[in-house]
Symmetry: C2
Subunit: 692 residues, 2 copies
């Protein structure tokens, strides 16, 4: 059951799709269903707090730091460009205000509020949960499990398991917010990317590096350097003289060229996007009505007002310029929005710096600290109060709706795609997001680092993203910032082959990390080939999850809620109906311990085509898994269908499947399939029963 | 066996104590024993490289990042003040050039070279080890296992186990570098610290917070604010009007006051330390003979030339000022040396900034980057080339001997202590260090963060530190930078009670993390009391390790080299002859998996005095261990003696021990004990046999 409580006059976010009766809260008694669990306060902003039981677990928050169980820290929903996200960071690129407490009493909350929210989940006091906002205008959805949902007996096979409270709450929440975006099937192919590919030659070199070495690949995603002076919807005339020809040439090889689009539009007289935006008042404005200026990659830019429906339409239609050149996929970036500096911030900094420089003949420690920090003005919250949106004619200051910005940039593109390409799904994913954006595109998890701990974070983040509707997602495999190593990349790929978005992406200045840069290419080749063998299963499970508002990656806790050990295991995930994953995420080990909440079949791939099978009883096991191996666990009564290995999705062969499962049991799998592009999936998609 | 190869004319570091025949290397053939393993190159500096076998493990490097097995990354010996040490950082506070390869052929190397050394251990190529330096003047010690040392059968009880190759190499290396520093016994008591205690009142508040709540405590360590304007060997006249009285008052309560000493000496006419240093040429000088100026906490400072024996004596004797006020322990800090800025660096930065500021009316992105980064001049390697030492009359540029600086600051103190307090051991530990310093004092592992990953790093670093002679060591429990949480602190303390240096330390601006700041004090109290119950065992094992050049913390790999699983387990440690530790280092778990390389007794403390015992067979186990519990494993044939709980070392009762072990086996433990202060341990220390 979902109850919708309205506090004050919330801003319309379009996060949800279901129409629910509104319970307006003017006094605490109006929110009795909420205050049954929480202490509600409307003094000094809005807050809800409760005392947690030792055994309570807290889930949700989508793209947030730390574990699947979010207890033990605080998190602030505030879309932030922070690639150096160590354990203590409270804000990442997305803002996903869905939280769920599972315990003696279980419930979910969605706070539809697009400004900062703090979730203190046992940080200030170990057993206290407090959710607070500065404002008091918001919708709060309280979701309780369906009556039928109870703790599932751990021996029930998946697919048939009684729905746990957690799964019931998630399913209801997902129904509230609408079906998830489904990309074209080729988007499940492996993507290579790097900030630093400068021209066509670089692209061809990457394509050749993969194709010559028979390393599977489906796409090359292109960072900011394809543009002319970082101007959106331009292509550099010397470095990429003929995008359409390049795109066609790539497609010949079964490759897609996936360009980036940044939020900020370069200020440059004569640049039509800039001029049209100015003319039509499509850019975010200062209080005085002038266009706000932010320094980003192109230098000074204006921010399109994606919260203005007209501006959204205008910006979205601009993607046609690239689509007409054969482009079928995009990634939207810098849309928190990232602000290197605002004109105002820069001016203040320069004034302060000039003041400090006066003592330059004998600077003291304070002068030094001052000078060192004076230009640390990037992503300054003060800037969020310096510009405004035009939402349905209302002037709304950015900080009140900060977390909607990236969402609406991606929505702009997606809505236009429906007109530009009415019959074909395009690939679209974003860095920043808010709940609701999951209907329009996927997300990658932002700029991470080549750290083993970020591989583990990737693993732990996937189910939380799924809870919030983000199914098409993945991390920068190998790590974006800092230098990767061969073993880290291999282990990361061995997990990444299971994530819908499977992209290797690295930053300028870091070690080159295309697979062919390393020794021992066989190891990479076999892991990538296995990805392609898995695509029919992944795509099928993905579509089912999207259409049924279900999880693709499921925490063990949600399926085995009465198994205390399973509930604490966060480095293993269920994937679809058939699989449990237990990735290796540590260096210098040849295996790991795995907890089986039920008897399973341990399947270890020593190459894309060779594997061993070993039935294992429920309980703890140590499994060997070398750097070039991929381990997975097959659930009883389920199958894993594998197609033949290939080097791109164009070659996918749906006519012959190898079925892995317990012999002689007559187990079957319902495989969803379609042409990989159709938007008319209900009609054109079909289910094929595969039986062992 | 140890062979000493001399390349060129090395700088005398005093890292080693044993006299060995020198094999001068003028051509590759001179180094046949080395080139048996390595490719040696003397072009473009010095380098040794070899192809590693998949099964080889690499150990050593003391205070270095990442795992016990150092494979898979690179490390640069260059003492660096970097509190934000994420996985990708290659240099920490210490420089410990001992490395050991264990495999089909095993050997250790010590590179006695006090400038930068890069250890590329499978970073550039996964199976390639390369050790390289820019210079070619160094001593290289090659250590091979004694003939008798072989892989130990894993069933042999500790204490009697055949010495593995790793243990043989470490023991020989430790004999080469001399016995480790032994602190007074009270230094095994719990230490509370914080940067931010401003005055006597703060100190009394901390003392009261612990004593009133019956939370055991032995020391309060004092950061920079006790000094007058951060001037070494001064005490702030208002904030600490009578240090001797305060020290006496503390001692009444069984507490020690442990002040910090920083490397840089404030430039201030009238300040005698400054004036004496200038007058006697005791400070590091520029090429032109003027005293080098570095900005550190006091503002502009000079660096004492600790590599000059006279300056060392002068500086060491200054500690007497505080010792005379009753101080019995010190920590030496900022001695990498940390340099916020040099006068030259500041001048350059100001020139660049002035240039950039010219375009201040219309700054572009490059101007912005420039301004943002222009004052990032702290710990700039360029500064290491701007000052010189006077070593035995030779003018040596700092970068050539950078890693000796902290070592010799601590040596300065220790050597003077022998004169000032000939009969009493004082507590002394340092931030920066080089091998050799272990004879003079301990180290803490520098400014870490309140990250769970830094708790794990603490666990993994302990045995590596021990290999390099640093036995008295520990991390800032709870984490220095960023905000801690109750659960993190509890788990960290539950490991910290086993580290010789057990200090809770936090940075200014972070959450207060004295134990009494949190709810549920019972949990803290029992864990701290257990520490005190353990001290007789810890002190006894510590002294044995120091005198026998042995490890206190031993990797499982060194004792069970034929057990492949044991060799890979890095989150468990052997501690002394009796114990194996398996700390919990993850949030939101009520236990963990543990690998037992042999049958052991699982002992779980639910309070300081209550515990359960469960014999466990060799193999993998999952053990429950709640946030307020401490788990340990007792090795077969061994005892753990526990004294009664108490609140400070002054109250330690050596007359009645509780002995934990397998019943009815007549097992005994040799307990070393003394008065806790004597330097004459051979004569005054004694061994008591405790028998179950």
């Amino acid at each position: 059951m979902i109850q919708k409580f309205r506090f004050g006059t919330p801003i319309k976010t379009d996060a949800t799709v279901a129409e629910l009766p509104v319970i307006p809260v003017t006094a605490a008694k109006d929110a009795a269903a909420l205050t049954k669990f929480f202490r509600l306060s409307l003094e000094n902003g809005f807050s809800l707090s409760l005392a947690m039981d030792d055994a309570d677990a807290v889930y949700g928050l989508g793209e947030a730091n730390r574990g699947i169980n979010k207890r033990g820290y605080k998190y602030v929903s505030c879309c932030t460009d922070d690639p150096n996200h160590t354990e203590d960071k409270v804000s990442l690129y997305g803002a996903h205000n869905f939280i769920m407490l599972i315990g003696q009493e279980s419930f979910g909350l969605f706070l539809d509020y697009p400004a900062d929210i703090c979730f203190d989940i046992g940080y200030t006091k170990q057993n206290e949960l407090t959710i607070s906002t500065d404002g008091t205008d918001l919708d709060v959805y309280l979701i309780t499990a369906e009556e039928s949902a109870t703790a599932a007996p751990s021996s029930r096979p998946a697919g048939n398991f009684a729905e746990s409270a957690a799964l019931s709450i998630v399913r209801q929440f997902r129904t509230l917010i609408g079906h998830s975006y489904i990309p074209p099937r080729w988007a499940f192919g492996y993507i290579q990317s790097r900030w630093g590919y400068m021209d066509e030659k670089d692209i061809r070199r990457v394509a050749k590096g993969y194709r010559d070495n028979h390393l599977p690949l489906d796409s090359i995603s292109m960072d900011i350097d394809y543009m002319e002076d970082y101007k959106d919807f331009t292509v550099h005339p010397e470095r990429f003289p003929d995008l359409a020809a390049l795109s066609a040439e790539m497609k010949e090889q079964g490759l897609h060229f996936v360009p980036i689009i940044d939020a900020g539009v370069k200020i440059e007289p004569g640049y039509d996007v800039y001029e049209d935006g100015v003319k039509n008042n499509y850019f975010c404005k200062r209080a005085d009505g002038t266009d706000f200026v932010a320094g980003v990659w192109p230098g000074k830019t204006h921010f399109p007002d994606f919260l203005n429906a007209d501006a959204r339409k205008w910006f979205g239609d601009l993607y046609k310029r690239l689509i007409d050149a054969g482009i079928e996929g995009f990634w939207n970036d810098m849309n928190e929005p990232a602000i290197f500096y605002s004109e105002e911030g820069m001016e203040d900094a320069i004034t302060k710096a000039s003041e400090l420089m006066k003592s330059k003949d004998n600077p003291d420690l304070n002068t030094f600290w001052g000078m060192r920090d004076v230009f640390n003005i990037s992503n300054d919250h003060a800037d969020y109060k310096r510009f405004y949106h035009n939402m349905d004619g209302n002037k709304i200051r950015h900080d009140k709706v900060h977390n909607l910005y990236g969402f609406n940039m991606t929505r702009a593109a997606a809505e236009s795609f429906d007109t530009i390409c009415p019959n074909k799904r395009l690939l679209l994913f974003s860095r920043s997001s808010y709940i609701g954006m999951h209907r329009f595109g996927g997300i990658w998890t932002g700029d991470n680092q080549s750290w083993w701990s970020h591989l583990l974070l990737n693993i732990k983040m996937m189910p939380s993203l799924n809870m919030c509707g983000f199914l098409y997602s993945g991390a920068d495999l190998g790590g974006f910032g800092s230098h990767t190593t061969r073993d880290l990349l291999l282990r990361w790929l061995a997990f990444g082959i299971f994530t819908p978005l499977m992209r290797n992406h690295a930053a300028l200045g870091t070690r080159e990390q295309e697979c062919y840069q390393f020794e021992g290419l066989d190891d990479f080749r076999e892991i990538l080939k296995l990805r392609y063998r898995l695509i029919p299963y992944l795509y099928s499970e993905f579509v089912k999850a999207a259409r049924n508002d279900a999880l693709l990656f499921t925490p063990l806790a949600f399926v085995f809620p009465q198994d205390k050990t399973a509930c604490e295991v966060e480095d293993q995930l269920l994937l679809g109906e058939s699989l449990m994953l237990a990735p290796v995420y540590q260096p210098n080990v040849s295996g790991r311990t795995v907890y089986l909440p039920e008897d399973m079949l341990f399947v270890k791939f020593t190459s894309a085509t060779e594997y061993s099978m070993e039935p294992m009883d429920a309980g703890w096991h140590y499994i060997g898994c070398a750097l070039n191996e991929v381990a997975l666990f097959l659930r009883k009564g389920h199958l894993l269908p594998l197609c033949p290995p290939c080097e791109c999705t164009k070659q996918l062969d749906y006519t012959s499947f190898e079925l892995i499962g317990e012999a002689g049991k007559g187990i079957s799998y319902e495989l969803y399939t379609d042409d990989g592009y159709t938007k008319n999936m209900e009609q054109e998609g079909k289910y094929v029963t595969l039986t062992l």
